[in-house]
Amino acid sequence: MSQPIIEVKHVSKNFGTHQVLKDVDFNVNEGDVTCVIGASGSGKSTLLRCINLLERPSSGEILFHGRPITARGSNPCEYRSKVGMVFQSFNLFSNMTVLENCMAGTVKVLKKSREEARQTAVSFLEKVGMEQYIHAKPHQLSGGQKQRVAIARALAMQPEVLLFDEPTSALDPQMVGEVLNVMRQLAREGLTMIVVTHEMAFARDVSSHVVYMADGVICEEGTPKDIFENPRNEKTKEFLARFSRG
């Protein structure tokens, strides 16, 4: 109906002579939950980091609302404030408390008043069930708690798109549950998300679009039903077979 919110066009990324992404092309529409699956080293994380400009694509372009953000002269900070990111290793600011972590972006980048930022921060911490821990420092929290705070920090910027880079890979099974539940809730509320994950059940049940990557290219993409129930590509079949067996 309308323009995709993010368009990735012919993006390649080289690290030296090693080509990690090869001519990747895909779109994300508003309200989509796109899950990117694939073996480790297939370029999923690099793709996500390119979308958030933490890595500059070697070639190709990325459009946000139709505007090229990889072009010279575009402001990456302004763009990043609209596209949040949640990391595998949390990356919470260790010099700040949970509350300060969630207020930093709103105060410094969006220039909101401290009172307003505090209210926003607390409301999003409530959403992820961490409002009791506002005075804690990140090192005093468990992995699942840290990741929930990291999600609240990203949400406090009220982003249009939220990127998740293997948000549960560093967590034990119980913590995975608490983080995935928060993400499920966000998906139900219609937040546009791109999730790089190894949680096949999450990809199958929550996403509206699944992208399977191998060796730096998108092998197959489609609805979860298409990918999980009748994958057409041989590599996809093999990859998913391994998961359903394991």
Binding site: R80, S89, F93, S94, N95, K108, G177
Partner: protein, 301 residues
């Protein structure tokens, strides 16, 4: 033994006459070291920020040129001021300036000249310490800051430098203590700090060793005090080891947990409720058994 008594007498004699001068010298030394270390740290932090501005291939040529230039200037500053003796830097500033400008430019006070020289010297050392401190901060912190849209300056001032500063606190302490001692070379531009008092006193009394003993004890007192205070400051920066749970209403235990019951999707919600109920029944059981015990006590009486 006799010599020790003699030494004690000499020290008492010196202190009763020149005690005020010694104390004033100590005060000046401390003041100079404190101000110069503080300014030096600021210089070091600025150099740290300037040195780490990201420079990418995609940036316009002019920007890349300026960044390279800034880095070169900082590098030269560090190498020159770290690599030459402070005593000569003082001479260059205080005597060189009027010499070169034919007296048109000169320092009106030794204080200004001393603070300038010691600050710049400390700054050169601090620039390297800050660089080390910035490297020691996990790169994930930078990525986290960038991901919420912070620019380089915001990332540095609110995330990286506070952590780097904590990491280099022992270095700052080092520099402060070194400055307390090394400001003594400022006698070359006739700045009357603690060591200059010694020169003045011995010139008048010829009691070289007793005065040196006073100096030694004086310096040690200053550095030990500084050391203890710096440790305390570090501890303060670390903040409290524990945190309090923020409970909306402290009179209602478990307030803020109610959400779990409302939201059936929450992991282990059934388990949590069971646990809470178990706790409640435990408490009740405890009360009952406690009651029984007190009743027992009543019987035995």
């Amino acid at each position: 033994m006799e010599r020790m008594v003699q030494l004690g007498n000499d020290i008492v004699k010196l202190w009763s006459t020149y005690g005020g001068s010694y104390l004033r010298g100590m005060l000046d030394t401390l003041l100079l070291a404190l101000v110069a270390t503080a300014i030096g740290c600021l210089i070091g932090l600025c150099c740290g920020i300037l040195n780490t501005i990201p420079c990418e291939q995609e940036d316009p040529l002019l920007k890349r040129f300026f960044l390279k230039l800034i880095r070169a200037v900082v590098r030269i500053y560090v190498e020159v001021f770290r690599g030459t003796p402070m005593i000569l830097q003082a001479v260059f500033c205080y005597y060189g300036l009027p010499y070169l400008t034919d007296g048109a430019m000169q320092f009106n006070s030794v204080w200004a000249a001393s603070i300038l020289v010691v600050s710049i010297n400390t700054g050169a050392y601090m620039a390297e310490s800050v660089r080390g401190g910035i490297i020691s901060v996990n790169p994930g912190q930078t990525e986290g800051a960038k991901a919420i849209g912070m620019n380089h300056f915001q990332t540095m001032t609110s995330v990286i430098l506070p952590q780097a500063l904590r990491n280099i606190m022992p270095q700052i302490g080092n520099n402060f203590i070194i400055n307390i001692k090394d400001t003594s070379v400022m006698f070359i531009i006739s700045f009357t700090e603690f060591f200059a008092v010694h020169r003045g006193v011995t010139g008048a009394t010829y009691l070289y060793f007793p005065s040196a003993v006073i100096e030694m004890l004086g310096y040690l007192t200053m550095t030990l005090t500084a050391s203890v205070l710096l440790r305390a400051l570090e501890k303060m920066m670390d903040g409290p080891e524990n945190f309090d749970l923020a409970v909306a209403d402290p009179l209602v235990p478990g307030e803020g947990m109610h959400r779990y019951k409302k939201n059936p999707k929450e992991p282990n919600s059934d388990y949590r409720i069971q646990e809470q109920q178990a706790e409640v029944s435990d408490v009740l059981a405890g009360k009952r058994s406690g009651g029984r015990r007190s009743r027992k006590g009543g019987h035995s009486k």
